[in-house]
Symmetry: C2
Subunit: 490 residues, 2 copies
């Protein structure tokens, strides 16, 4: 099985597709641009959802659900929003089918044409701010801290499983506040949550920063982001949090009565992460043998493969491990006993390796005699024979070790692939080789665009720290307020 | 607050709308037929999801995600399915907007017309069986036990919050099996799960049975259902589980290689419950003071309202209850301390009553002196003063008592409103008054339709028990195999 995976060096893009396919994470559907998220891939998403949802709720956010469809005219209300979003989208124009005259197929009933077309949400600011107009009257209604788990559609011409699909799953937070300061604090709080989630759960080291005006969300005053570096040296945006100012409040006329009895527009944020994170997870840690999952997000953390010839031997192993499995479950460790008699151990080993299960245990006749078990870790591919005594604690510790190890490995990779460039030649050369490149930029959109046109590198972020050294723009030589992070990106 | 709710006797339908509105569960959106599920309503849905999801997973099902859009031609593949479903639906015909010539609005770009229209899923059999065609080759791939949590759209002309909306949220299970017997067993297992969930979680007594051919799901061989009786004497379907035979396997050519190396079509089921259940929950238990929630599905199970004049008193109460709150949380009881200084206790009492919080505690200066707390239960509106000692255990017991009480109350109501009718006059009279009416039916679709036309009553279900007494049809006098359950229904 594992042999069928293309190596990273041979073809990174094919390697990625092979892993998504062989690990059973997702596949293309019969609907162009839409994927099917298979059970194993969806189980990873559920783990991500549970962790993020708890972080949102612990910081006072509540979930709600808003309509899938948005009237077309709503997109014209916030000028920059429509430019950025409403163009490539799925448009509902009719609401009825009828049987064709020959009775053999169904056709659109032209009599059932909508007066106003409906857009399948590409993001929900418009419909949510239309709702907030009804919900917000007074300072007592604020802050309003709402999150939605939903599907969204953006018509994409070139799609890749998880990384870019026409329909994807995500969460989108939409908050309203009394003051500008409070809204900015919210946007920054969420950025910290995203960074914390990426690092502690996904094992994904991220840089935090601000987007340049060119890369900002359509309708935002400021876009905060977390960016990670993939194994091929390309950057991937792992979450954005937007300070929206009063743009949407003005577009949808959302005012509140202050404690001093004055009418003011509210201040807003929005923020989201999507199933794209699964793409990042795959690309960050996996190797030429298949998927490597951080234990905290692995649907199966421990798999047990019995080695046996006769049914009695299988039964003896089953008896032997029963108690251990219960103790692992008590520690909230998910464990699977792979007792399928339709596959041989070698096949099972390869399958669980490709699926990235962090720890594999194998128990055969010799282990039964010796009271041992073979423990294999997926991240390093190391194996050792351990005594069964207190094996649960050993496994628990090993899972923590693996979680830490894959983070440290990714961090070391990022450090090895973060560079500074001070001349244009050096910059072009570095960008070509991949990695994050810290360089000076004169702060203009024109220069940013020129750099992109010539090198395909974009400004991934402007670092948040404000003790940045001044310098001269890499391209124009004009003054720069500090280095920004460039990279080619997904 | 509570005063603004219309009484059930005055106008049942308005009473329902008032509760949905005043309890903050949902509201109509600017998109015709689509609702906004507000945080409090969504929190109930999350509790339902968690309980059902665990029951599905405990019985071997996995979650996955399939595309929102289904190519139009897929609906023509299963003949009866298209008749029942594909007609009233949202149809995507274009994929791009452009700015109008005057630059003031956005219009549909006629150049971006899809070759084949896409239907927003009204249910996912078609796209899922198209996928199963790729997933199923051998008996080793079976059974395939998949569930999806998703939004679906059915274009409804007359909508009511939760009960009937164009877009709603649901789960849909889709399974594939080697044999007919196994598929029927699966459909029945799910029916038991739905009944168990309705009774133990929602406090909703249900009848289990089979649908008559007229009421069967489009594409099913047999539809199992659970039916509940609302306070106005109308029935509400609380879940359906379909045995699909080989209909979809044949339509989408899904065959598997048996252990004997023969190619056979697989056998299928599908099953679902939706946000409609929230409508049932509201109508079943609530009273003229507002929502009444079963403790197991209440987002807030216990609310604590402090009675104070000075800030120091509030602080003293906060200190006093801190430990109790922690002990309640340890028992997995969700508790809220309503310390808002923007509202008075009377307002808070009314608000939590309307919102159906099962237990309300009030603590004032006298309680602080006496070491007591006022405990009010929402279901009976009874109040008592209890000593603070071991209050957590008293509350825990009270919550169980309330859960049981509202179920018993609903069960008694159903028993009081279940009748038999043996003559046509008696039948018409009974149906008019509301309730379940057990009567004989000759088994034909014509008679069923005639009864519906004359009385608005439909066959809610044919009981599963097979020891039914034979008799004569209420309308035609022809032989009947046993009584079936009639009612007017939502």
């Amino acid at each position: 099985m594992a042999k069928e995976i293309t190596s990273r060096h041979e073809n990174y893009s094919q390697w990625y597709n092979d892993i998504v396919n062989k690990a059973g994470l997702a596949e293309n559907s019969s609907v162009r641009g839409s994927m099917v998220i298979k059970p194993y891939g969806y189980a990873i998403w559920e783990k991500m959802q549970a962790a993020l949802d708890k972080m949102f709720k612990d910081t006072g956010h509540e979930n709600a659900y808003f309509p899938l469809f948005i009237p077309k005219s709503f997109f014209s209300k916030e000028a920059s929003h429509v430019e950025g979003f409403a163009k490539e989208c799925a448009i509902v124009t009719h609401y009825r089918l009828k049987t064709s005259e020959d009775g053999k197929s169904v056709i659109v009933d032209e009599d059932a044409k909508l007066e106003e077309e409906l857009i399948v949400r590409p993001t929900s600011e418009a419909i949510i701010w239309d709702t907030y107009h009804r919900w917000i009257q007074s300072y007592r209604d604020l802050p309003l801290l709402i999150n939605q788990w939903a599907n969204v559609v953006r018509w994409e011409m070139r799609t890749r499983l998880f990384l870019r699909t026409s329909e994807f799953l995500w969460q989108e937070g939409h908050t309203a506040h009394e003051t500008k300061e409070e809204a900015i604090k919210e946007a920054e709080l969420i950025l910290d949550i995203y960074a914390d989630f990426a690092e502690r759960w996904m094992g994904l080291p991220v840089l935090k920063g601000l987007k340049s005006p060119n890369e900002r969300f359509a309708g935002a005053v400021e876009t905060y982001c977390v960016e990670a570096l993939m194994q091929d040296g390309k950057a991937l945006q792992a979450g954005t949090s937007h300070f929206l100012g009063q743009n949407f409040a003005k577009a949808f006329d959302v005012k509140y009565l202050t404690k001093e009895n004055k009418l003011e527009y509210v201040w807003a944020t929005s923020w989201g992460v999507s199933t794209r994170l699964i793409g990042a997870l795959i690309m960050e840690h996996s190797d030429d043998n298949g998927l490597v999952l951080p234990p905290k997000l692995a649907p199966v953390q421990v798999v047990i493969v019995p080695i046996y010839k006769k049914p009695e031997q299988l039964e003896a192993i089953r008896q032997k491990i029963r108690e251990m499995m219960n103790r692992l479950k008590e520690k909230n460790i998910s464990v699977k006993f792979d007792d399928r008699d339709t596959y041989k151990p070698g096949y099972k080993f390869a399958e669980w390796e490709v699926k990235g299960v962090p720890v594999r245990l194998a128990i055969g006749p010799r282990d039964m005699e010796n009271g041992t078990v073979e423990v294999a870790r997926r991240d390093t591919l190391e194996k050792e024979i351990l005594k069964m005594e207190d094996i649960e604690t050993k496994i628990e510790n090993l899972l923590e070790k693996i979680q830490d190890n894959i983070y440290q490995k990714a961090l070391a990779f990022r450090e090895d692939n973060t560079f500074t460039a001070d001349t244009w030649e050096e910059f072009k050369d570095r960008v070509e080789k991949g990695g994050f490149v810290l360089a000076h930029w004169d702060g203009t959109a024109e220069t940013e665009q020129k750099i992109k046109d010539e090198t395909k590198a974009t400004i991934r972020l402007i670092p948040l720290e404000h003790d940045r050294e001044k310098g001269k723009c890499i391209l124009t030589g004009k003054p720069s307020e500090g280095r920004v992070v460039f990279a080619r990106a997904y």
